[in-house]
Assembly symmetry: C2
Homo-oligomer: 495 residues x 2
């Protein structure tokens, strides 16, 4: 991008996304293949996400713990579907020491090979459930409701900041229950927690539903998902919750003596949300001027920019700080002032616009004379002159209004671009354009056969995203093979 | 240990430590060599530690970020002292894929070898400073004040839960400044943050000082440390802060144009505190009945245990919940009730004692008749009958009193067992006993020569812990070689 101008969405959507991240100083690529550096401003968004989710996890009865980063190869291999699902993307530790070679270079010590290779966790089912099998023996030990916040590694070939990186940060919840019903309720409850969070805090409407057999988590019975639509009409899986059934319980021999004295396998769930949701956040609301953040998650909700002349800097900056203090106290805002004297007001406006701060307060001499300030909302760039006496209530109202407006716009996009189609020709035309510039979600009957699903993917790049939770059984014909189909699924090209 | 009784400190101090951890359900060893599982109760202590420290880091101007887990071998090797310091304990990733072998086993794919081995970070100086060199070009880019909360791996041979594990959790702060003075001030400020935290929240008095050349961090100019004395008289380094000088700046070419237009290398610091501080916490206050936690860090400060008979369970449990609610509202306590009906009151008393909860409230029929409850303080096991009307203020006072008392006891231990010695014979006798059951800190003149330091270590197991910050230059003779010595150093056998 050139110094002040981002690539527009129309020019090149992918470059626009990278430009938004760079202009807001959220993250950058590192010298380690596929791994990104999350810079302070980007990380503060993740901190807010963590705080909000962690509160909800604890409210719903979960506790945090920490399990090892490494998983012995034999342990990862114990559940057959699971290891197959992750085999292609495993980082493997094979040695535990470096030495100086004869020519003075530091090399891996060939003598220090591990007896068994260790896999850097791509997810923690296996390492955790090995412990669960020791911890659980009676119905009194159930349910186990544990979450961990950690880093995982999946060696991805094509990476994109936040959306898909070799290492990423996430949380993974892992629970064990005495009945199928309880486990399934837990998996749905946690999907509900994700849905509420994404809709209410990130202002991203989602479609919640079940994944197809082919798209579900490696080792799960059922995977529940929330799917967001980004501005290019592509889908992004924003969070998943798995009813694992007894697959892992059997592989790891996790049994308990029930109240009726019978020995039974436990029923399990796991669920996760990662830094990828920041990718969804960026692509949901941002515009050609850069990042746009919803107030409920923005690290800085309001920025105050005093505008002084040579003779009145002290007066204006003092007044600006008074307003900052008042707003902090009255509104419990995340607010900052930008009063550095090496950047011009225009430069500052632009800088904070690119960082997506929801409201900018501009304060110059004329404003102060009129006991007013100028508010600029980031989403619409609308300017509003407000009396200082009304400022607290105006800011409160405006933050709510911005949050609602972002959600409503995204909802409008999702509704408008989710299209029911009557035949496969229309399907192909609707789900994506050849030049990849615009897509839609398609709602269509599908026979639930693996072969149709695979062919549709081959022919259109679109995958089944989910069967919406509120779907009713109907009579129809598969969009691809014409055989009997009972449900309309959501298809889309996805990230 | 047998079911209810822990190994005592006198019987076997090391076993006692492991028993305390097990009885409190803080952590356990995992099947991965040297890696532990931090269980929910142990992790909740770490969460409190993180919250308190993070608040302080932000108050002192730092922001959190996240850098990759992996460091390319060539990058780790760029600062010569640094890589030598960590070479023996590096976990090395060499492959990025698994495949199914001909006999159906999952193996490491020999075709998927990385071009360059990746080291799982033992610390992040190198990976971070590679970025700093790109981020910094002008004095306006300084200072950089970044912290990260993450996991690091140091392949240790002899491990002990919390104290020394192959993987551990910590924070590492990394700052860059324009002058030596500013960097040194930062390193000292952060040592002060650690010291305040450990003394005020963990109730552990420490000696703050400089490390010797030999004991300082690999690549640092000066290492500042806080050293705690545990109950066996051994030392534990609870936190360190390094003035890195320009060593890394030169290795990573981190330069800036100063206000005077000259191009200069930056001055840097790094500082860290890890889960090992939980080991110090456990060994500072616990007794032969199990864990003892200071109220300021305890995940549960008060536990309410209703004691009912067959005919009055509802009444007692209702009353107990009323008291719980009142205390929560009045005192902003971390408080829980234990009203399960499958454990006896005696079993519950014992259970919460082993978990180190500072105050237990017992409530039976007679208590309620008298409008009173029985408080039991964990540190002294003293019982106190309190009128319910006085309960809020009594609890507040008692929590302060327990916190102070734990600190004062630990301070008494530190003072009593820090001994000035007149000759090397006395040094040897004082610093440790042959059977390893009791040790002292020794304060003695040392010539600051590497050879004396090494011989003392060989002959007594004691190392230089630090030169206390408030030390004045004096005239004396080295305890080992008799040559001129200017300072009295603290020596101790350490963890």
């Amino acid at each position: 991008m050139n110094k002040n101008k981002l690539t527009t969405r129309e020019e090149n959507y992918s470059d626009w996304y990278l430009d938004v991240i760079k202009a807001a100083d959220l993250a950058e690529t590192s010298i380690v293949r596929g791994c990104m550096i999350i810079k302070p401003y980007g990380y503060s968004i993740w901190e807010n996400i963590k705080d909000e989710l962690d509160k909800e996890f604890k409210r719903t009865g979960h506790k945090n713990a920490y399990f090892p980063l490494f998983i012995p190869l034999s342990l990862l291999s114990r559940e057959a579907d699971h290891v197959k699902g992750f085999a292609k993307e495993c980082a493997v530790v094979t040695h535990h020491r470096l030495i100086e070679s004869k020519d003075g270079k530091i090399i891996v010590d060939p003598e220090a090979e591990l007896e068994e290779p260790l896999i850097v966790r791509p997810t923690s089912e296996t390492i955790m459930y090995e412990s669960y099998s020791k911890w659980i023996s009676s119905w009194r030990d159930l349910p186990i409701m544990i979450n961990q916040w950690n880093n995982v590694v999946r060696w991805e070939l094509r990476t994109r900041p936040f959306i898909r990186t070799a290492e990423f940060l996430w949380q993974e919840g892992h629970t064990a229950h005495s009945t199928f019903e309880e486990a399934d309720k837990e998996a749905r409850t946690m999907l509900g927690v994700y849905r509420d969070f994404v809709e209410k805090k990130l202002a991203i409407p989602v479609i919640a539903g079940n994944k197809s057999e082919n798209e579900k988590f490696a080792g799960a019975l059922t995977t529940y998902t929330i799917e967001a639509m980004l501005q290019d009409g592509k889908a992004l899986q924003a969070g998943t919750s798995h009813n694992l059934g007894q697959n892992f319980a059997k592989a790891f021999d996790i049994k308990f003596t029930d109240k009726d004295s019978e020995i039974k396998y436990v029923w399990q769930t796991s669920w996760g949300m990662s830094t990828r949701v920041i990718g969804a956040l960026i692509m949901s609301h941002s515009d050609d001027n850069g990042l746009v953040l919803p107030p409920n998650i923005a690290p800085i909700q309001v920025v105050v920019i005093p505008i002084w002349k040579d003779n009145n800097k002290d007066e204006i900056v003092t007044k600006a700080n008074e307003i900052l203090k008042m707003l902090k106290e009255n509104n419990e805002l995340r607010i900052e002032i930008d009063d550095n004297d090496y950047e011009s007001p225009g430069f500052k406006f632009n800088k904070w616009e690119k960082k997506g701060v929801p409201i900018r307060i501009e304060m110059g001499s004329r404003d102060i004379e009129n006991s007013s300030v100028t508010l600029v909302r980031r989403d619409t760039l609308e300017k509003i002159i407000v009396k200082i006496s009304d400022l607290s209530s105006e800011i409160s109202n405006l933050l709510v209004s911005i949050q609602d407006s972002l959600y409503n716009n995204a909802m409008k996009r999702l509704t408008t671009n989710t299209v029911e189609v009557k035949d496969y020709d229309e399907f192909k035309k609707t789900v994506g354009t050849k030049d990849d510039s615009g897509h839609s979600f398609v709602k269509a009957f599908w026979c639930e056969g693996k072969s149709c699903e695979e062919k549709i993917k081959e022919e259109t790049k679109a995958t089944t995203r989910c069967l919406p939770l509120d779907s009713k059984e109907m009579e129809g014909k598969c969009i691809h093979c014409g055989e009997i189909a009972k449900h309309k699924w959501i298809f889309a090209v996805s990230y």
